[in-house]
Each structure stands twice: as structure tokens, then as C-alpha cells.
């Protein structure tokens, strides 16, 4: 029988954290009044009115949410009562929880609070199933219940340099926009110069004078905004991944990261859908590779989902992957794409590149914006060449194979080469699709559907069908379950 405990209220920090926005709202209005346009006290109260009303409504909502929230950590399950008008009663057994995430930041630690979020396979995939604001002591209690009381040293600790590189280039979502910056600046300058020349040569034109005066500074401003966004994004990413460390405790994998706000994720290794070794073309040039795992629930975290090893040199990365997941990346029974199928890997970047080259030569015949087009096509041709090289690299590395009780797939997703290691019991089904052209050529597309809330699939193009069939029969020998057509027809004889 469960030891009955009292229901406890959430930590008051769940309300306090909303004060940040409210204080900002009130402060902005007050500062506006005193610094920019000073007015009398009545005008100040008047302009504060809407913000104050908003703050009162928001805060009273969160106070009533806090007042109606109760939780109890039972021996077998987490029990939660919540809801203002519609009362909800959650019972989540510990046996069904696959991911625990513990969040703390400077402010929450000052108030002695932590946020504990849990995820089960029944979650929506967009947010955590349940989040509780509790005291640090209780968060520690939950953590000890999962990981035991013994303190462990991290088995892997990421280098600051690799996190800096990661946040500056391949993991930074604004990196792509940086390529546009030279185009914007030069286009602005060229347009400005052309307009000024027009003013000198012809009579004074209102449109040209505006262009001459404003386009160049606006372009420079836009470029600086993009560079600022890139720098801010890099800083945020660095803060999120600084002090990255991971370690294994029996069947649990613990990943901890963050500078000012710390996030500790506890994943169940038994529920890992796949382990993936990731390489972008830049990482390949720097001889680096990183490792991520996918567990249901870990998909709610933004950025590099479920990263367990940051970009490291091959040997170091492989050693840490072996230590954390038990996977030795050695494959057998490898099936590679057919030799003539490189076209299906490179056709898209190739056509884009050809398009830019044609545009570059046509720009000589353009009556206006000639120089802008030249710069634009030169930069984007370089990007297309990079894309093309990546696709050639991914074609050369694309393969499926076997590694112990895992199927391995090496294919590309966007601009990253991903080498998946998928445990056979986590495969939901394998899809082999063939277009009429592929039927003629004897090739197929190979897709593995995984156990996940986001319908994750791993995909390889243009594999030879005969070799894939032979590969699948070898896979079947390694699994505990016979294939459907291998079963006897009469179930009573089985």
C-alpha cells in the first residue's frame, strides 16, 4: 500500500516568476514619463492604468492557479490536483515516466525553488506533460529517488571551445542570415551611388534623392541588426550549453547544462529510440562530431535535441559515446546506394547553382541593379557550392548496416550528416518505397519509423532493392521475433 502523504502546495516562486514581466511593464511606463516626456502625476496614473490593469489581471490569474495547485509524491506515482474552474486530477506512475527535467536559475535558487518537469509517451510533444514548482529540497528528493543518494562525477565534460564553435556556427539559427549581410551592404552602397550619379547627370529627382540619402544607411542598419542578432543568438546558445556534462547512472543518462539557468535532464536508456552521431560539412573539415539521443519527451527541449556529447574529435567522441550509451560504432553487412544514383542526391543544389550561374551571366545584359545582382549571385553560388559539396559528401557516406542489436543508417537531414544507431526493438516499422523509375533501375528508398511522439523517421535514398532484402533477412535473424511469413499458418501448431 502507498504511504499516504499530505498534498503540498507548489512553491510561491511559480507566482513570483511572473512578477518579472509585471515589474517591467510598470517600470517602462514610469521611465517613459520621467525621462522622455515628463508630465504631471495624474497623467502618469492615467498612462499606468492599462498596464496596471493588465498586471492585476495576470497576477490574480497566476495567484489563483497557485492557490488551486496541490501535488503529492506517492510511492508509486505523482498525484496532482489543479484547475481554477475545471478541476483536474493527474496520477502519473513513476514506471511510465521516461524523462525528468530539473530547471533552476539564479532567481529561483535565491528563492529556494526548482521546476521539475516530467514526460511520458502519452505527451503531446509540444510541452511537458506536467511541471511542478517545488522547493530545492523536494527536487533533490525526486532526484535521489531516480538516481540514488550517491554523488557521481561527470563522465564527460565538454570543452568551452567546442561549445563556442557550436554556438557560433552550426547550431546558431541566425548563421544562415549572415551570408546575406555583404549582399545587403553592397546593394545599399551601389544603389546609393547610382542614385547620386543620376542626380548629377540629370535634373534633381525626388525619388533618386531619397534613395541617395536613405538606402545606404538603411542597408547598413539592417546588416548591423543581423550581425547583432547573430551575436545575441550565439551568446544565448553559449549560456544554454555552457558547463555541459553528462554521465550514466545504471539505466539512466544524466545531461546537465547551462550557465545562469541550469537544466538537468534524466533520460531512461531503455527508452532511447536512437543514438545519432552528427557531422556537418564544417564539422567534417574541423574533424569533429557530436552525439544526440532521442527519447520520448526530450523533443520538447529546443536547440540540439538530446545532445549527450558536444562536438569533439573522432576518437574522444567515440570513447564518450561508448561510455555513455554502450555503442561501439563498428558496422557490418553494409548496404550503400547504387553507383549511378548520385544524381538523386545532388540534383537540387546542382540546379540551384546552375540557376545562379545563368543569372550571373545574364546580369551583364541587365539595364539596372547590375552590380548588386553580380554580388548576390556570387555569394549565393558559393552557398550552393557548399550545399552541393555537402550532398556529395552525404552520398559518399550514405549506408545502412548492422551494429550488434542495432540497425545503423547514415543519411542527411538538412545540412547535417546523421549516423543513426537504432535498437531493433524500437523500430515500429520499415517502409520500402519504389517509384516506377526505381522499379526499372532496381533501387528503393528505405525509411525506418520510430517509437516517438513526433513520428520520427530515418531515411536513405536509392539503395539496391536486392541487397536491402538480403539485409532485412539478416536483421530478422538477429531479432527475437520471427517475421510474420515465417510463422506457421495454423496458430494451434505454434
Amino acid at each position: 500500500m502507498d504511504k499516504k502523504r499530505k498534498f503540498i502546495k507548489a512553491h510561491p516562486y511559480s507566482v513570483i516568476r511572473h512578477l518579472k514581466i509585471s515589474v517591467l511593464l510598470v517600470l517602462i511606463t514610469v521611465l517613459q514619463q520621467f525621462l522622455i516626456r515628463p508630465r504631471g502625476i495624474i497623467a502618469l496614473i492615467g498612462s499606468l492604468g492599462i498596464n496596471a490593469l493588465y498586471v492585476i489581471v495576470i497576477l490574480s490569474y497566476y495567484i489563483s492557479v497557485y492557490g488551486n495547485f496541490r501535488y503529492r509524491l506517492e510511492n508509486r506515482a505523482i498525484h496532482i490536483h489543479s484547475g481554477i474552474f475545471r478541476k483536474k486530477d493527474y496520477v502519473i506512475p513513476y514506471s511510465r515516466i521516461l524523462t525528468y527535467v530539473f530547471y533552476t536559475n539564479v532567481l529561483s535558487v535565491m528563492f529556494g525553488a526548482a521546476k521539475v518537469s516530467v514526460d511520458t509517451p502519452a505527451g503531446s510533444g509540444r510541452s511537458h506533460d506536467v511541471s511542478i514548482y517545488c522547493s530545492l529540497r523536494r527536487a533533490r528528493e525526486v532526484r535521489e529517488r531516480i538516481l540514488g543518494k550517491e554523488k557521481r562525477k561527470p563522465q564527460y565534460r565538454a570543452r568551452t571551445l567546442s561549445i563556442l564553435l557550436m554556438s557560433a556556427f552550426w547550431s546558431n539559427p541566425v548563421t544562415g542570415f549572415v551570408f546575406i549581410v555583404p549582399t545587403i551592404v553592397s546593394a545599399g552602397n551601389i544603389l546609393g551611388t547610382e542614385a547620386r550619379n543620376n542626380i548629377v547627370l540629370n535634373s534633381l529627382n525626388y525619388r533618386d534623392s531619397i534613395i541617395a540619402e536613405y538606402v545606404s544607411p538603411v542597408a547598413a542598419f539592417l546588416a548591423s541588426v543581423i550581425m547583432m542578432a547573430w551575436a545575441v543568438s550565439m551568446l544565448l546558445f553559449f549560456m544554454r550549453y555552457a558547463n555541459f556534462c553528462s554521465y550514466r547512472v545504471d539505466q539512466k543518462l544524466v545531461v546537465s547544462r547551462g550557465l545562469l539557468s541550469r537544466c538537468t535532464t534524466v533520460l531512461d536508456m531503455g527508452a532511447v529510440s536512437y543514438v545519432s552521431i552528427d557531422k556537418s560539412l564544417l564539422m567534417r573539415l574541423l574533424k569533429l562530431q557530436s552525439c544526440t539521443v532521442s527519447v520520448i519527451g526530450s523533443g520538447k527541449m529546443k536547440g540540439d535535441i538530446g545532445m549527450i556529447v558536444c562536438p569533439e574529435e573522432k576518437k574522444k567522441a567515440e570513447r564518450n559515446i561508448r561510455r555513455l550509451t554502450g555503442i561501439v560504432p563498428r558496422e557490418s553487412n553494409i548496404v550503400k546506394p547504387a553507383k549511378f544514383s548520385i544524381y538523386s542526391y545532388i540534383y537540387l543544389p546542382l540546379y540551384v547553382l546552375i540557376g545562379f550561374i545563368i543569372l550571373y551571366y545574364l546580369s551583364g545584359y541587365m539595364p539596372f541593379l547590375r552590380e548588386t545582382t553580380v554580388i548576390f549571385t556570387q555569394i549565393f553560388s558559393a552557398v550552393s557550392v557548399w550545399w552541393l559539396l555537402f550532398r556529395i559528401y552525404s552520398y559518399r557516406n550514405a549506408r545502412i548496416g548492422l551494429c550488434g542489436r542495432c540497425i545503423t543508417l547514415c543519411g542527411f537531414r538538412r545540412l547535417t550528416l546523421k549516423h543513426y544507431f537504432i535498437p531493433m526493438d524500437k523500430i515500429q516499422w520499415i517502409e520500402i518505397s519504389r517509384t516506377p523509375f526505381q522499379i526499372k533501375k532496381g533501387t528503393c528508398n528505405f525509411r525506418v519509423h520510430l517509437y516517438s511522439e513526433k513520428n520520427v523517421t530515418c531515411y536513405i535514398k536509392q539503395l539496391p532493392i536486392a541487397e536491402v532484402r538480403a539485409f532485412l533477412s539478416k536483421c530478422r535473424l538477429r531479432t527475437a521475433y520471427p517475421a510474420v511469413h515465417d510463422l506457421p499458418i495454423d496458430p494451434s501448431t505454434y
Binding site: 508509486r76 474552474f85 483536474k88 502519473i92 502519452a122 517509437y451
Partner: protein
């Protein structure tokens, strides 16, 4: 199959009245919003009211009784059979062992009549067992927890 059936049908007799009250409250809200939006135009206002009131009576006297007649929740030792629908009646069987966790929720109207809704959360989907008595919800939760302990 009949041996392990625990209860025949656990839909509360208050099912109809609860849903009628909820529909009436929605109707009141709709009337207020329409009155605010079309206050200056008499003909569209009257036409909208006619359509709304027609839909309301069709809902109260036809849609909800048919839904009530089609709605059946058969409780078994290891699974529940949920049968519901209006045009297309769907019957689904949910094994308790496949349920990851359950959520019992009670709105204001439901609290007045002692009924509640149980959401059975499974991987990839959820099944709602709505408007059943609180004691039946507890029984359902007990069966689900017992199957987890046995499993």
C-alpha cells in the same frame, strides 16, 4: 468475455442534463456576442437568432439524445470498451496496460451533478470517458492502477 465484465454501462443518467446545461450556456454567450456585433442591423440580427435558436433546439431535442443513446462505456477487468458517436458510431477498446496515466477533470456544472470526465492518456492518442459518476471514475482509476501493479 461476459465473466470479466464488471459493470454494464457506466454513463451517468445526468449525461443529458449536464450537456444540455453546457449547450444552453454556450447559447447564452452566442446570443450576447451576436447582439453586440449586429446591434445596428435588425434583419441580419433576427436571421442569425433564428438560425441559432433552431440549432439550439435541434441540439437539445435531437443531437444530444442520440449521442446519449449511442454513448456506452463497458467496464471490464483489464480493458474498457468506449462506444460513442452521432452519424458514425465508433467503438474502441482500451487496454488499461496501454494507458500511461489518467486525468480526472470536473467542470462547474459537472461538480453540481457529481459527474466527471476521465482522460485516458496513451502513446499517440487519448480517449475521453466523459460524464460518468465520480465513484465509477474511481473504480476505473483503481482498475487501471491495479493493471499497472500486475504488469
Amino acid at each position: 468475455m461476459k465473466k470479466d465484465r464488471i459493470k454494464k454501462n457506466i454513463v451517468s443518467p445526468y449525461y443529458l442534463i449536464v450537456r444540455r446545461i453546457v449547450l444552453s450556456l454556450i447559447m447564452v454567450g452566442a446570443i450576447v456576442i451576436v447582439a453586440m456585433m449586429l446591434a445596428d442591423t435588425i434583419v441580419p440580427l433576427i436571421l442569425t437568432y433564428v438560425v441559432l435558436i433552431g440549432a439550439y433546439f435541434a441540439g437539445i431535442f435531437y443531437y444530444l439524445p442520440v449521442c446519449y443513446n449511442n454513448c456506452k462505456y463497458y467496464l471490464f477487468e483489464d480493458h474498457i470498451v468506449i462506444r460513442k458517436g452521432f452519424f458514425i458510431v465508433k467503438e474502441s477498446r482500451v487496454d488499461y496496460s496501454k494507458v500511461h496515466y489518467s486525468v480526472i477533470s470536473q467542470g462547474i456544472v459537472q461538480r453540481r451533478f457529481g459527474v466527471c470526465t476521465v482522460a485516458l492518456m496513451m502513446a499517440g492518442s487519448k480517449q475521453m470517458v466523459s460524464n460518468i459518476a465520480v465513484k465509477d471514475a474511481r473504480l476505473l482509476k483503481h482498475l487501471e492502477e491495479r493493471s499497472k501493479k500486475d504488469g
